[in-house]
């Protein structure tokens, strides 16, 4: 049989290890805000913040790029479309395009748009000054709204790229949920 002192030692050790396990469980959750902060500070995944305007950006008159616009909705009874399919322009020029959303339902719906770019690292050369994706959008029943996106493609864009795609997907925000842009 184990001596009483040994049993007490063992129980103390078990308590310490159990507390350590609980701390690690909490640590798993703590990684969520930690990653958000880390990405914010390091500028990773920073798709939903407006970029600063740059005055006198050099325009590369030598070449033309085509940007195509795409729009999707997921789980939302909305119509969502760009008013122009594509734009052709010189890198360095500031461009504004319009998107239109329509809520077909009889209730107010809140949505958040998430951008996606092709090619994958386009965000390094894309500066967006204004976008409906920077805030959540609340649409009244049957409301239609036209919203702008204002951006510039920097002349640093690699020269082998001619056609780029900017795509948005609208997701419905559950009631009470915080939008990405407000975090």
């Amino acid at each position: 049989m184990l001596s009483r002192a040994k049993i007490r030692d063992n129980l103390t050790m078990m308590k310490k290890l159990l507390i350590f396990s609980i701390v690690m469980f909490v640590f798993g959750y703590a990684m969520v805000p930690f990653y958000e902060k880390f990405c914010e500070v390091a500028g990773i995944n920073n798709l939903l913040q407006p970029d600063k305007m740059v005055k006198d950006m050099e325009v590369d008159e030598e070449r033309l790029v085509t940007v195509e616009f795409d729009a999707n909705v997921r789980g939302l009874p909305w119509d969502f479309k760009p008013l122009q399919r594509s734009v052709k322009f010189h890198p360095g020029e500031t461009i504004e395009v319009m998107y239109e959303i329509t809520n077909h339902l009889d209730r107010e719906i809140t949505g958040q748009a998430i951008p996606s770019y092709t090619p994958r690292y386009l965000d390094k050369h894309l500066r967006k000054f204004e976008c409906f994706c920077f805030t959540r959008q609340v649409l009244k029943p049957k409301e239609t709204r036209v919203m702008p996106v204002q951006f510039v493609i920097e002349p640093t864009l690699p020269s082998h790229l001619h056609t780029l795609t900017i795509s948005y997907t609208f997701f419905e925000l559950p009631v009470g949920a915080k939008a990405v842009s407000e975090k």
Binding site: N10, S21, V32
Partner: protein, 532 residues
């Protein structure tokens, strides 16, 4: 390590215990629980093996023959989960239960009743996993890593998998707490930490890794569960979550997990090699430090599993170099094993064959691991059969071969009977040949671009896949031979001599009769360390 002294026949009295089924349901004896762990993991090994046979049968030829794609995905998912959490991990816990108390001169595990709990949680989790095949929507099919969004979609099968992982995690944490307490508090008087056999050392470090990362996995699956049912958005992009976040948290658990599955096998091999080389282990303390460094490094390399998920170049470089650094302590270990054999009076019984096979094949798996660590190559081989080949070389010919070595090495001590040496060697050679036939060709398939987790493939992959499938069927059948050998040993094996391995120096061989009595070391043994 420990010098032989004290009367070997000091124990062997007081062998009373309940008999029949109630012995097994209520036992808190570390040897009985160890036995149950081992039988359970063997059953799970064959369950996971059955799924593997299904996968290889489907991949025998191009086209869809026997498994619909959805079911095929469930097969690969459950094969991984069952082998990792049901077969390999519980098997090592089984070894720890049997061996740790005997090797440190303790009468039992520190918390005998908790031990009972951590075992009986396993069959519950296994039932959940296996029965999820028969619920509407079928078993989880998003891969054993259950990445969202696949795992936030999916039906009841995914919920059953999540609960199973919760239960398995709880069982592992309890087991780890038990093992740490046993090792730290219950060693024979005079046995310092640096006197412990390496199997005990590797398990101590493994158990610390378990309490470090299993709770994080529990947190991850809890987040998944609340995302699925309670409206949270940890991983759901629609609600502002991030699926890549899941990969980071999962692999923070997942990479230490692969070392949880390999460190105890380093321990077993470090017992077997000196015994059959009849020399003390070369570089004992460097072995301990190497094990500890591997464990620490394993916590800072997780993102090498997700080089293609998008990450700044600086981060890729950090994780690449940190990963390659692990090859250094691992190389120290391989060097020490080789140096132990150097000029030893070697003999090649089955445990030694499996241990040498382990070193040989584990090194191949280690090298392909270094290759996968290199970012540009990893981007090329990500999610291909090259990765499959890599981790089966470290998990099958690594962990599993070490488990076989341990089983043949200690079965005389456990049962008092010898296994059939001829059949044991046959089992080794069949496993060795069929294993390589199955997995070596998968390197070529992966380099040529065959993706994993797909039930069909392009025609140019047909020949290698057929070879691989034939190897897999052979490997599966060879394991039936293992069960036959073990049952034959237990029922009608020849009586084992008191000390069948003349080179063995640990307490269970020097201070206990064969077979080990039901209650051992109720009086702590006198332990005299020898110089390493």
């Amino acid at each position: 390590m420990a010098a032989v002294h004290g009367d070997v026949h000091d124990h062997g009295h007081d062998d009373h215990h309940p008999t029949g089924i109630s012995r097994w349901l209520t036992t808190t004896n570390h040897k009985d629980i160890g036995t149950m762990y081992l039988w359970f993991s063997l059953a799970m090994f064959f369950t996971g093996g059955f799924l593997a046979m299904g996968i290889r049968a489907e991949l025998f030829q191009p086209g869809i023959q026997i498994l619909e794609p959805e079911l095929f995905n469930s097969f690969t998912t459950l094969h991984g989960l069952i082998m990792v959490f049901g077969a390999i991990m519980p098997a090592f816990v089984g070894f720890a239960n049997w061996q740790v108390p005997m090797m440190i001169g303790a009468p039992d595990m520190a918390f005998a009743r908790m031990n009972l709990w951590s075992f009986w949680l396993l069959p519950i989790a296994a039932t959940l996993l296996v029965s999820s095949f028969f619920v509407p929507g079928g078993a989880a099919a998003g891969g054993w890593t259950f990445y969202p969004p696949l795992s936030t979609q999916g039906g009841l099968g995914v919920d059953m998998m999540i609960f199973a992982v919760h239960i398995l995690g709880a069982s592992s944490i309890m087991g780890a707490i038990n093992i740490i307490t046993t090792i730290l508090n219950m060693r024979a008087p005079g046995m310092k930490l640096m006197d412990m056999p390496l199997f005990v050392w590797t398990w101590l470090i493994t158990a610390y890794l378990l309490v470090l990362v299993m709770p994080v996995l529990a947190g991850t699956v809890t987040m998944l569960l609340t995302d699925r049912h309670f409206g949270t958005s940890f991983f759901n992009a629609a609600g502002g979550g991030d699926p890549v976040l899941f990969q980071h948290i999962f692999w923070f658990f997942g990479h230490p997990e692969v070392y949880i599955m390999i460190l105890p096998s380093f321990g077993i091999v470090s017992e077997v090699i000196p015994t059959f080389s009849r020399k003390p282990l070369f570089g004992y303390s460097s072995m301990v430090y190497a094990t500890a460094s591997i464990a620490i490094l394993s916590c800072v390399v997780w993102a090498h599993h997700m080089f293609t998920a998008g990450m700044p170049t600086v981060a890729q470089l950090f994780f690449m170099y940190a990963t390659m650094l692990i090859a250094v302590p691992t190389g120290v270990k391989v060097f020490n094993w080789t140096a132990t054999m150097w000029q030893g009076a070697m003999s090649f019984e089955t445990p030694m064959l499996f241990a040498i096979g382990f070193i040989f094949l584990f090194v191949i798996g280690g090298f392909s691991g270094v290759i996968c660590a290199i970012v540009p190559i990893d981007i090329q081989v990500q999610d291909t059969y090259y990765v499959i080949a890599h981790f089966h070389y470290v998990l099958v010919s690594g962990s599993l071969f070490a488990l076989f070595a341990g089983a043949y090495y200690w079965i005389p001590k456990w049962t008092g009977r010898m296994y059939d040496e001829k059949l044991g060697k046959l089992h080794f050679w069949l496993s060795m040949i069929f294993f390589n036939l199955t997995f070596f060709v998968q390197h070529f398939l992966g380099l040529a671009g065959m993706p994993r987790r797909i039930p069909d493939y392009a025609l140019q992959f047909a020949d290698f896949n057929m070879i691989s499938s034939i190897g897999a069927f052979g490997f599966g059948l060879s394991q039936v031979l293992f069960v036959y050998i073990m049952i034959k040993t237990i029922r009608s094996g020849e009586k084992a001599p008191e000390k069948p391995w003349d080179g063995a120096t640990t307490l269970e061989w020097t201070h206990l009769p064969t077979p080990a009595p039901y209650h051992s070391f109720e009086k702590p043994p006198v332990f005299k360390p020898t110089v390493h």
